[in-house]
Amino acid sequence: MEAAILVLQDGTVLQGRAFGAPADAVFELVFNTSMSGYQEILSDPSYRGQGVLFTAPHIGNVGINLEDDESARPQVSALVINHLSPLVSNWRAALPLADWLAQQGVPGIADLDTRWLTRRLRDGGTQKAALSTRGTSPEKLMAMVNAWPGLDGRDMVREVTCQAPYDWPGDAGSAWVMAEGNASTSRIVAYDFGIKENILRHLAAGGARVTVVPAATPAREALAFHPDGVFLSNGPGDPSGLPYLVDIVRELLDSGVPLFGICLGHQLIGRALGAGTRRLAFGHHGGNHPVQHLPSGKVLITAQNHNYCVAPEDLDPAEVEITYKSLNDGSLEGFRLKRKPVLSVQFHPEAAPGPHDAHGIFREFFQMIDQVVCHA
């Protein structure tokens, strides 16, 4: 059993058991309260730059399979857990979690009191932290933490976006995603700020031909694909560090093309509309977040993963209809534009992992496209 050391920005030093890759990592530590779906979370590019603490005490039980990835590799910087499963038990499992992390260079620490750590993060806010699974001293790790600039104001999207446009071909996980409503025949351009593959699966399940483009693709190049709709993806980091993307989104807004944003995509739409974004104390990371659809009063249990949110007071009520708010803290969770075909949500309708309550929002996007096509 190898020892692992985790140090927090506030000086806390914790010792646990190492697993995954022997490595040093420095990151922002967030906790996620999902009770299932660690594979999806670990491979979600939105976690780039972050270490994830799972509040669920048993991790690794079902191993890693070939269908549930949200990107080609684990994206998190480190994993902090209570109890690592001694073996893998699931009919779809291909390899153990620890082996996957080791292959991909991601370190993990187990046997920690994750509840206590969660309470620290909840009460004191998200912290910078460093983990070593190869014997680096706490002092050195502390120095790494202090030297690390953190995520605020930084462009993390560059690290995760694709290099060139491609058409989404579907994958092994596509069989798990059912179409919502009637098949569409539209063409959609999806901006990849760190896109989760389940979003692509959902767009494709709706019948669309989906072309994924790099984050910095100028609006006119995206529009040159003659898309029926443009999708703005989730992604890592602070939206305030991405002015070039805000400019692109503003152009897309001006073009009148039907637009759909999720998470970072949503925040960028907010910023393009002139609203600020602010950091939440410890973010929303989990699969049990209730949001209320304001027009109907209906509550959806959603998957969420964000540290920043759009400031609702900056949005012009004449232009923007707020459609969703968080029932936990009242924060803004989604809006539509009154005069433009624009749909934007902070939470993750594609789930993965999490409840499927919000799948219908993909259908809403397709309906919005259909209406625009009809009126054209």
């Binding site: 594979q39 699931n90 009919w91 009191d113 994750t114 049990n288 209730p290 499927h356």
Partner: protein, 1071 residues
């Protein structure tokens, strides 16, 4: 959407007596629903025949009817109370069945009563297997292949189509009654016959075998805005094939990926909307193939359930309360989350701990019963434990069971390991001890894969068992002096190893382990159940222990009292004791104390976070109780209300310096110790049946011979007459003596001269050290020899003179003062040949406390708790015995139909699971109501079969004559018939069992008998009696095995023929 204002009065049926499959969880659920609806201003009318419930406390409803749960009674109550709505979903299957009956008979429409919580269409679709299957099929929801059959031919056709093995079940039956596996065509006719007989509509359901598949259950909630939330996903350790009530279960689910889990969640949602469950809680059960992942829906219950109670305790979400509120029109987002105080009920809990439930069986009480587990539930209670990880929770659950075991290998402080080695063939057989056998097999080094194949336990659980075993092996080889030992010890505590087990592994005493731990700073921390994995601060102190870094207990400095609960429900220690613990919490809260509850039974009201100010969900063991005491530092601990469980801890706790409130543990000890107690009675000059003390078989032989057979063997320190036996001859003495010593090791036995034909009387009283106030005097209807918990009982006595009652009151007072009782006191008397004898004294809560309290209107446990806290009875205004208006009859409910093969005769060992109460101005009517409530409707006409032993023949004659005068035809076995003929009674002689057909059992099975009086005597007669009882059970024919019960029944039939039953609420009764 706010609450509905179109309804004002809501009728809520409870679930009636505690039976296997429908137990205390419905008191918990019902109580929550009552409180929630009343808080919203609704007028609530409750009907429940079970007096041992918190929900039937008259303060909890505007009108509380302790009346039979029959359509007749409900119609009358609807006529009287005119409710505009009925909430049938918190009263178990009983509640749903009543709703169906009242809807079908047009009563609901006639009186304008709307069903809330579930409509008829939904109940029908969920309860009728055929309709459910069809409904699922139409919605393309996957289910096992199967179909319904109303004849053997239909069943055979279906079986041929599906292939063997098959599961055969009874439609519309509770707790899996009548369910069986069928492996080959030859077994089909019997299984189908049984299922059709057990089904109220004569329908058998035949289904593809999904035995061995993984089993999951989702507890879900839906409101009228179609908001939907999964409260808890539960995974069964035992695979499909064992009834979920008999399975060890784990929450949250551990072996599903999110993809697979969300498939179940989506299906659950579709099942609810397809069936039409618009508002309320429900559970959906799934089977998942372990190798292909194929998921099928097994069943759905559109109501709160045993598992929803478990899920509530596991997550901190009060499912029944939410179900009641959404039924009243609220949407989930309008209901606050009490635990966080800042979020709403529209969310799904996230657990950062693991929960394990283990059922508690009572096979030791039912020799002859097949102890293999299957589709029919057999457990009588359950425990739940919380730990940060599965090993910790599993260990704590095992320790909570109180079966003398504190370790997964099945060993305990006074219990070694079985010698035999485990093999794979036996691991395939599910029994009460399979967990321990599987663990030992893991320890023997059998491959996890082979154990998985044999037992169906998922590999993941087996790997965790293996990790525990590795730790056990390291501990057994450890030296407490070595440097790494503290690390090892902490790791062991984190895996849930208990000090008493560590003591055995390390070869030191338990106290030494505790001392060592403290010295090393290895101390438990208490974590809060917060519904949200620490994302929000918890406002409610609902706690469990772990070995972590931060303690979240944050005890207050207020004066406080710790109440120790009763642990798992079992026969002899059931809901009555939980009732008393709750009363203690209410009373002490009223006196200004902060109340702290400690219990491990998820079915109970006491473990509702609403009942006491603080709740510790912990095993009731010395180690865990002392941990809580050391953290909370209470002014006092109440050990006298939770039954034998906390009493057994009392002496050790007192020795450890824990202040025990009320009657001293020494006095309790004195009354339990048969030898000491006999001495006290001699000093007070109170007669006791001739008796002697035995510490060995030899002594017992001598004592019994001196007394003369039959004798009654009574072990010390047991509840529910455990191992108590009536021994008729020396031939069987050795067997019973051995059992008695096993039940109470190291303690003396009392051997009584058995007093045939004596009457037994129970007296419940209150005492404060200066004064004794009689609460109630209750006469058993059965003669001595039947355990008081199994005997029917009437308050006030109907056949005991005022003179004798006076003597009993006097003796009670003497005993209460002599023992220095501060709190509750129960004395059992026998009356024979004009002499009053004391049989037992229990200076603690007794089983009759709730029944006596409901009948007299004097809340005995509530007053007693105040006395224990130092109040005097005079200060509390309790100085006189309450007057009783009319008659209150308690009847026991026995589980024989759930436990085929058990001997069905009553004796000194208690075997009933529950009780009901009937009340009326006339004894006969009160008795009739108690029988109806217990499920035995007395016939008003027809044929009565009488078979009495020689002692009973003269008294039997009077009963026969009364029946004949009322127009009953008389059937009798040859001896009895000859006796009746001699005096000119028209009687038809029928063959005894074993003689030519048609004999008595044939006649019963042919439906030609409407009532049976059978008082067997002698070994063969017992065997015959058992078969007669089995036939009577199967046919639902009332059977009376004692003449006094028969006489009471005759009296009941006489009044029932003359007048209609009337129903009266407690509030009206006491106004």
């Amino acid at each position: 959407m706010p609450k509905r204002d179109d309804i004002h009065t809501i009728l809520i049926p409870g679930s009636g007596a505690i039976v296997i499959g429908q137990a205390a969880e419905f008191d918990y659920s019902g109580t929550q629903a009552l409180k929630a609806l009343r808080a919203q201003g609704y007028r609530v009318v409750l009907v429940n025949s079970n007096p041992a419930t918190i929900m039937t406390d008259p303060e909890l409803a505007e009108a509380t009817y302790i009346e039979p749960l029959t359509p007749h009674a409900l119609e009358a109550i609807i006529r009287q109370e005119r409710p505009d709505a009925m909430l049938p979903t918190v009263g178990g299957q009983t509640g749903l069945n009543l709703a169906l009956a009242l809807s079908r008979s047009g009563v609901l429409d006639k009186y304008g009563v709307r069903l809330i919580g579930a409509d008829i269409r939904a109940i029908e679709a969920a309860e009728d297997r055929l309709l459910f299957r069809d409904t699922m099929k139409k919605a393309s929801i996957p289910t096992p292949r199967g179909g319904a059959a109303c004849s053997l031919a239909e069943a055979q056709a279906l079986a041929d189509e599906i292939g063997y093995p098959l599961l055969v079940r009874a439609s519309f039956a509770l707790g899996g009654t009548g369910a069986a596996w069928v492996w080959e065509p030859a077994g089909l006719p019997e299984a189908v016959g049984k299922a059709m007989a057990a089904s109220p509509i004569g329908q058998a359901w035949i289904e593809e075998s999904i035995q061995g598949w993984k089993e999951f259950e989702l507890e879900v909630m839906r409101d009228r805005a179609d908001n939907f939330a999964v409260i808890c996903a539960i995974e069964n350790l035992d695979p499909m094939g064992v009834h979920t009530g008999d399975s060890i279960t784990v929450a949250p689910a551990q072996t599903l990926t999110d993809r697979e889990y969300q498939v179940l969640r989506d299906l659950a949602r579709r099942v609810l909307s397809t069936v039409g469950v618009e508002t309320g809680g429900a559970n959906v059960q799934f089977a998942v193939h372990p190798e292909t992942g194929r998921a099928v829906v097994i069943e759905m219950n559109p109501r709160v359930s045993r598992s929803s109670a478990l899920a509530s305790k596991a997550t901190g979400v009060p499912i029944a309360k939410l179900a009641a509120l959404v039924a009243a029109g609220f949407t989930l987002d309008e209901i606050p989350n009490d635990i966080t105080g800042r979020t709403t009920a529209a969310f799904e809990p996230s657990l950062d701990y693991t929960v394990v439930k283990i059922p508690r069986w009572a096979f030791e009480k039912f020799p002859g019963v097949d102890d293999r587990l299957g589709p029919q539930m057999k457990s009588v209670g359950e425990v739940m434990a919380l730990g940060r990880t599965f090993p910790e929770a599993l260990h704590k659950a095992v320790q909570s069971l109180e079966i003398g075991v504190d370790a997964l290998d099945g060993s305990g402080p006074a219990r070694g390991l079985p010698e035999k080695t485990e093999d794979l063939t036996t691991l395939a057989i599910p029994t009460a001890d399979r967990l321990f056998r599987v663990y030992r097999a893991v320890g023997q080094g059998l491959s996890l894969e082979s154990i998985q194949k044999a037992s169906g336990y998922d590999l993941w659980f087996l790997a965790e068992l293996q990790a525990i075993h590795q730790m056990q092996a390291r501990l057994a080889a450890a030296d407490p002096q070595e440097e790494q030992f503290p690390t090892l010890l902490r790791a062991a505590k984190r895996l849930g190893f208990t000090d008493s087990h560590l003591a055995r592994l390390l070869g030191i005493s338990e106290d030494a382990v505790r001392g060592l731990r403290k010295q090393l700073g290895i101390l438990p921390t208490f974590q809060r159940v917060d519904t949200c994995a620490a994302e929000f601060e918890a406002q409610t102190p609902y706690l469990y222990s772990a070995y972590e870094t931060e303690d979240e207990a944050r005890p207050t400095g207020k004066p406080k009292v710790l109440i120790l609960g009763g642990g798992p429900n079992r026969i002899g220690q059931g809901i009555e004791f939980d009732y008393c613990c709750c009363q203690a919490a209410f009373a002490l809260q009223r006196l200004g104390y902060e109340t702290v509850m400690l219990n491990c039974n998820p079915e109970t009201v006491s473990t509702d976070y609403d009942t006491a100010a603080r709740l510790y969900f912990e095993p009731l063991t010395f180690e865990h109780v002392l941990n809580v005491v050391e953290r909370e530092r209470p002014q006092g601990v109440i050990v006298q209300f939770g039954g034998q469980t906390p009493l057994n801890l009392a002496a050790r706790l007192e020795a450890a310096g824990v202040p025990v409130l009320g009657t001293s543990p020494h006095a309790i000890q004195l009354s339990e110790d048969r030898e000491e107690f006999a001495k006290l009675l001699r000093e007070l000059d109170i007669p006791q049946p001739d008796n002697g003390i035995a510490r060995s078989l030899e002594e017992a032989r001598g004592v019994a011979a001196g007394l003369g057979y039959p004798v009654l063997v009574r072990p010390s320190f047991v509840l529910g007459g455990r191992a108590m036996a009536l021994v008729e001859s020396e031939a069987r003495l050795a067997e019973f003596i051995q059992k008695a010593f096993e039940a109470s090791p190291g303690q003396p036995l009392l051997i009584d001269k058995f007093m045939e034909d004596a009457f037994e009387i129970d007296v419940d009283a209150l005492a404060d050290g200066e004064r004794v106030v009689i609460g109630a005097v209750m006469q058993h209807i059965e003669e001595a020899g039947v355990h008081s918990g199994d005997a029917a009982c009437v308050l006030p006595p109907y056949k005991v003179s005022a003179y004798h009652q006076g003597i009993m009151r006097e003796f009670t007072e003497q005993l209460g003062l002599a023992l220095g009782v501060r709190g509750l006191l129960n004395v059992q008397f026998a009356l024979k040949d004009e002499m009053v004898y004391v049989l037992e004294v229990n200076p603690r809560a007794s089983r009759t406390v709730p029944y006596a309290s409901k009948a007299t209107g004097l809340n005995l446990a509530y007053v007693a708790a105040q006395v224990m806290a130092g109040c005097k009875l005079a200060e509390l205004g309790v100085t006189e015995e309450p007057r009783v208006d009319g008659f209150f009859v308690k009847e026991a409910v026995l589980p024989f139909n759930k436990l085929p093969g058990s001997s069905v005769l009553l004796g000194p060992e208690m075997r009933s699971t529950g009780e009901v109460m009937g009340h009326a101005a006339h004894f006969g009517l009160a008795f009739a109501k108690s029988q109806i409530a217990a499920g035995e409707s007395l016939p008003l006409a027809g044929a009565a079969l009488i078979s009495v032993n020689d002692y009973d023949k003269s008294a039997g004659l009077k009963i026969a004559r009364d029946l004949q005068r009322m127009g009953f035809a008389l059937l009798a076995t040859p001896g009895t018939a000859a006796f009746f003929s001699k005096v000119g009674l028209p009687v038809q002689a029928v063959h005894k069992l074993g003689e030519a057909s048609p004999h008595v059992v044939d006649l019963i099975r042919a439906g030609q008998v409407q009532m049976i009086v059978n008082t067997p005597l002698g070994p063969n007669a017992h065997q015959d009696g058992a078969e007669i009882r089995a036939a009577a059970l199967a046919m639902g024919v009332p059977l009376l095995t004692t003449l006094s019960a028969a006489a009471a029944a005759v009296s009941a039939i006489r009044v029932l023929r003359q007048e209609e039953l009337h129903y009266r609420s407690l509030q009206e009764h006491f106004s």
